[in-house]
């Protein structure tokens, strides 16, 4: 099984060269630890090395790491196709915007409200839909995403089409999180937390249940697993990740508008998950980085850059259909 996951299988030489060291990282615990340490060191020094513009871009990439890891719980672990993930991102962002601007609530108090709102929205959307089999969820989530965006466009509390602006930068124990570098480190912490939570979820009773349901729903049910409940847990977990991403996105930019939460946004996040390799945490991180940094790195190509980027993505999907990151070596 899953032989197409094997590093180097069916790849071009160039991609095989890429897969080689990746496979070493995936297989060897010492190499993995060294890689993580190097990555953390790089995260700390990056703003000083690459300058302010790159810091802003990297902050955005880290936001997508959080969002993609959240969607990975839904799509990668539980195998549910969610085409409206940006809706939860919007729920988080608008919760902060509305509560801080219109009600005057302290930023940090909006966090639990955003989490609860997203969880509630997840239960309302997922509760009835996840009872159905097959891909009804994709259709419903697609609709949900659009409903949230269009509602935000048309309600005065969300600022109609122009959205909300002037969202205050937060203070944390006397630290005013204001400069791009401050936000960069804030998002570093968020991304690391998102990774830690993903790792722990994957290695748990609930994480295994997601995989059982994804691989064989009937067998999972016969083993005593409530498939609706388990799927709902995945959907709501993903919703909470998305909302938290939205909360910090809103304070980082200081302004939000409905177009930040379009269908394209949902697709971009989904692309990060699929590109890197569904269900594989390092792969999803890599996917988020590629999706955000790719177009930036190709900026010198001018108008051609999106075309070149798209062709690159197509090639990756063609030669590594189960994602860039190799499958778990011990299982091959």
């Amino acid at each position: 099984m899953a032989t197409d996951d094997r590093p180097g299988a069916g790849t071009t030489p160039a991609l095989a060269r890429l897969a080689g060291p990746l496979a070493a990282l995936a297989d060897n615990a010492a190499a993995r630890r060294a890689g993580i340490v190097a990555l953390l060191a790089l995260m700390v020094v990056a703003p000083f090395v690459f300058g302010e513009y790159a810091t802003v871009i990297l902050t955005n990439a880290l936001l997508y790491v959080v969002l993609a890891l959240g969607l990975n719980v839904v799509v990668g672990y539980a195998g549910l196709l969610d085409l409206g993930y940006a809706a939860f991102f919007a729920v988080g962002a608008y919760t902060v915007g509305i509560l801080t601007l219109r009600v005057g609530v302290n930023f940090w108090l909006t966090l639990p409200v955003a989490v609860c709102t997203a969880a509630l929205a997840g239960v309302i959307i997922g509760g009835p839909t996840l009872r159905l089999r097959s891909d009804y969820l994709a259709i419903v989530t697609l609709g949900f995403g659009e409903i949230v965006r269009i509602s935000a466009r048309n309600m005065s509390i969300t600022g109609m089409a122009s959205g909300l602006s002037g969202i205050h930068q937060p203070w944390l124990f006397g630290w005013h999180i204001a400069t791009p570098r401050d936000f960069y480190y804030l998002f570093c912490v968020l991304a690391i937390l998102a990774v830690a939570v993903s790792v722990r979820l994957a290695d748990s009773r609930l994480g295994r249940a997601w995989l059982y349901v994804r691989y064989d729903e009937d067998a999972a049910e016969a083993m005593g697993i409530d498939r609706v409940r388990v799927k709902l847990a995945a959907y709501v977990t993903g919703a909470i990740f998305g909302a938290l991403g939205g909360v910090f996105f809103a304070v980082n930019l200081g302004a939000i508008s409905p177009e930040s939460f379009s269908f394209t946004q949902s697709v971009l996040i989904l692309m990060a998950v699929i590109l890197g390799g569904m269900g594989k945490i390092p792969g999803v991180i890599l996917g988020a980085m590629i999706v955000i940094l790719g177009p930036e790195l190709l900026r010198s190509l001018g108008e051609l850059r999106l075309l070149v980027f798209a062709v690159g993505l197509l090639l990756i999907m063609l030669f590594r259909p189960s994602g860039i990151w190799p499958g778990r070596g011990r299982q091959q």
């Binding site: 899953a2 979820l201 748990s204 009773r205 995989l211 059982y212 067998a219 999972a220 016969a222």
Partner: protein, 263 residues
């Protein structure tokens, strides 16, 4: 048979007007080993699916340990104490052997997202219990070594045993085996007979099997029920079944099954 562990009374099932099961009465006693046989298409697997909640019978009652099963979903029925294996292997692909077996412990444990993220002592203890049970069930079915392999890469006979271990990990009172001998060679069939007896003798679990291998059925079962065209045509010991004219007729009606009943 009052006081039976599993009791089906007048169970009927129809698909698009076709009767699949017709007024089936059937029982499995506590700690019994019972087989359900019958020609292809007799409705054996449909009966299994009614017991395990995958199908809803249109009429009749199904009780397990005195509780009505009919309105319960499959996962609740498993939690109530009925575990099953599948006719075609249904192991979770890409997952290791112990990970497969650990699925059985899901309905006996409780940790959720909070436990997974914060790992309180209770979650850790539960996780250790899940792993210990999986290891113990694997030892019971005599799968040793290559634990870290992907379950679906094991030899066929071993995969069958992993499925049984996975079902045992749900801590059932009744185990349903759907053609457990299919695809096994002679030696493995002997081991299966021994395993079925050990499941009953050492664990006190009742076993109900559907099986085409009549030789195996005659050896292992205490009672045998015969289903033909959705109707229960006979019930009794191996000797009684072999001598029953209705059973012989049903099997002779099949093109290829003339020799099936011989030992």
């Amino acid at each position: 048979m009052s006081g039976a562990l599993l009791q089906l009374t007048g169970v009927g099932l129809a698909f698009a007007g076709n009767r699949v099961l017709d007024e089936v009465d059937f029982a499995v006693p506590e700690r019994g080993i019972v087989s359900l046989i019958g020609p292809n298409g007799a409705g054996k697997t449909s009966l299994f699916n009614c017991i395990t909640g995958f199908y809803r019978p249109h009429v009749g009652a199904i009780t397990f340990g005195g509780h009505d099963l009919r309105r319960l979903k499959p996962h609740r029925i498993t939690a109530a104490g009925i575990a099953r294996t599948f006719q075609n292997l249904r192991l979770f692909r890409e997952m290791s052997v112990p990970e497969n077996v650990m699925s059985g412990m899901h309905c006996r444990t409780h940790a959720g997202a909070f436990g997974a993220i914060f790992r309180p002592p209770r979650q850790r203890a539960e996780e250790a219990e899940i792993r210990a049970t999986a290891a113990e069930c694997l030892r019971f079915v005599d799968i040793a070594g290559d634990w870290n392999r992907v379950a679906t890469t094991l030899p066929y006979g071993h995969q069958r045993r992993v499925e049984i271990a996975r079902a045992l990990a749900t801590r059932p009172r009744l185990l349903l085996l759907d053609e457990p001998a299919a695809g096994l060679h002679g030696g493995e069939k002997q081991e299966l007979i021994a395993l079925i007896n050990r499941i009953r003798d050492e664990r006190g679990i009742a076993v109900l099997l559907i099986e085409h291998d009549t030789g195996l059925v005659m050896k292992v079962s205490e009672r045998i029920s015969v289903l033909d065209h959705g109707v229960m045509i006979a019930e009794g010991t191996a000797k009684e079944i072999q001598a029953n004219p209705r059973v012989i007729e049903a099997y002779l009606g099949q093109e290829d099954a003339g020799a099936d009943l011989e030992l």
